[in-house]
């Protein structure tokens, strides 16, 4: 009989929590790739993206992490296929990577979120 047991005790739960905490710390490390990367955290709330202006260098891989402070929103970069839904408040983070060429990219909420939905816009400015 195999006697290889997994005890589920408070110590293991704590170990799990500690591992999760360690993971939070490692979040800052980011993924290493050849292209430069930039983490961009954007919060959406009726009827604002904060920040609504993101500056970067052309060719930088933007790790865009989006969180909503209220209802579900959308994140669409006009002229591209980037279009994703942000979960509601407390339901998690939506992530997408985007590598801009030099130029200005307008982004906007693509999920109707209220009377001021059309004001919800921002811009990514990628310089040479």
């Amino acid at each position: 009989m195999v006697v290889l047991m997994r005890g589920v005790h408070a110590s293991l739960l704590l170990a799990g929590a500690a591992a999760l905490t360690a993971s939070v710390v490692s979040f800052a490390r980011g993924a290493q790739t050849d292209a430069p990367r930039q983490v961009v955290e954007i919060t959406a709330e009726r009827f604002t993206f904060t920040p609504s202006e993101v500056k970067t260098k052309a060719g930088t891989v933007l790790d865009i992490r989006l969180r909503s402070d209220d209802t579900a929103h959308g994140f669409h970069i006009v002229g591209t296929d980037v279009d994703l839904e942000l979960p509601k408040r407390g339901k998690g983070v939506a992530t997408v990577t985007f590598t801009p060429k030099a130029g200005r990219y307008t982004f906007e909420c693509s999920q109707l979120c209220g009377a001021g939905h059309e004001f919800m816009r921002g811009v990514i400015v990628a310089s040479e």
Partner: protein, 592 residues
Amino acid sequence: MLPSSTVENYLKAIYQGASALTPPQRLLPMGHLASALGVVPGTATTMVKALAESGLVEYEPYSGVALTPAGHKLAALVLRRHRLVELFLVRVMGYAWDEVHDEAEQLEHVVSDRLIDRMDEMLGRPEVDPHGDPIPNADGQVKPQESQTLMTCPIGAPVRVTRVVDQDSAFLRFVDRHHLKPGAAIQVEERDASADSVRVRGEGDRLITIGTRAASKLLVQVTRAALLLLLAALPALAQDAKKAPALRTNLSGYMDFHYNKPEFADGSLDFHRFVLLVTHSFSDRIRFVSEVEIEHALVEGGEEKGELELEQAYVDFLFSRGFNVRAGMVLMPVGIINERHEPPVYYGVERPFVDTVIVPTTWFETGVGVHGEIGRGWRYRGFVTAPLNAAEFSADEGVREGVQHGSEANTGRVATTGRLEYVGVRGLTLGVSGWSGRSGFEFRPRFDVPVKLAEGDARYARNRFEGRLQFAQVWIDNADLLNDALIRRVGVNPNIGRVLRGFYTEGGYRFIEGARFGDVGAFGRYENFDTQHRMAPGGIRLPQFDRDAWVFGATYWPDADIAIKADYSVVRNRSTVIRAPNAFNLGLGWWF
């Protein structure tokens, strides 16, 4: 008693190895298992024999190993933990998808079933992890997936990437770099056996050439658009379906159901607002937005019942983030509530008094104007609209009844309105608004009743706290001439004030947040408002219109878009004769 991490890793490896077998082959060769686990065959055999003794696997010497039903379920639950942890790390904790496998390898053995179930619920019972791998349910069952690889899917057919079967972080970064993550819409252009390559057309018409080994690790499904193409031979329709996100019609809305119990009077149930929003995008640059509202549920001609209102119906011409043109029925850009009035976003069953009798929300009017955002959070809006009708002003409700609502609105003298707003700091909105127009067009002989409104507001909402502050003042010039004209019309002096003023401050705090059953918050608001703050010569200032209100209450959000509210408002005025009633209110409001 639960199995160790070693046992779980063996069961998982057998599960995954067996899934790649081609029927009728049922047993996973021991060499494959040892290779997958990175151990020598002798070690694997010793362990498998022990697992067979415990009833978790069937072992046939010189043939291989297979999971028993008990072993199959245990393996599926390990994968469930692994994949949910991966998804949690990506979605909630912001990890990149190529960072999570190693973390999940550790955590899959230590997280409890209870924690996993909470993660599953929080993530909305997902069916796949960030790599597209199916997540078994709590019984260890997996929803069957029908996929092909990039080596077997039809050439030229639009497909969507559903799964990446290699979790190696370098390979995942390769997939990411080439925009081939699950969800990516692509099609295979060519397979070149001699060059050992596959050419793929990716999103944005990007051409990518990858090796056949990489192509065999990417699973895809033929998209609905492609099926339409194949079945109905309607390429144009398929193209439209691909563009659907930009060219769509949306239906949305909000509702507000109230119970109001004023002091010294019977309570009433009121379906206060039923609002439907219909929007349509003609293109990325031209949008139509409408908002139709039924107030108080019932509309009957000529009776003092509800209202059917067209609150918004405009076309936006979106030239750039900084400059856009809007025309049609538009909301006046004044104050906090007028443009931000979905029930779950504000505390209190009823809107603030200041946003009722000083700023006449919901204030909408026909007009044309511009709006945009400049720099890091500076916004402007400016409109030319039909003016207020001073003949409908009153001492009690100020300019509220003077809104023409775009109904054959007189535009003999147009009004202008504008707002400047700063939203550059997360959670903070600072705004100033103004409105100016001549409103005496209905009187003969005609005389001017210039009306001006100035307003300033601040709102800060961060984490659990939300605070609001708003001040608004209205000036009605020639109020004495207006009162005289109305005396001639109705026979009594309406005593319309020359200056109307109001302000409120509010604080709210979510003392329960993120609980399984939702959020709970409490708030308090103080308001001071006077529709006769200053009188014109000849007017009589009535003390009952100089009012204070304290409103206290709570809101329960079972979902971010549903608010169940309760509050009690204490209203006091300066009159010793006429008393303003306190009120208890209950409300159910939602947005969808």
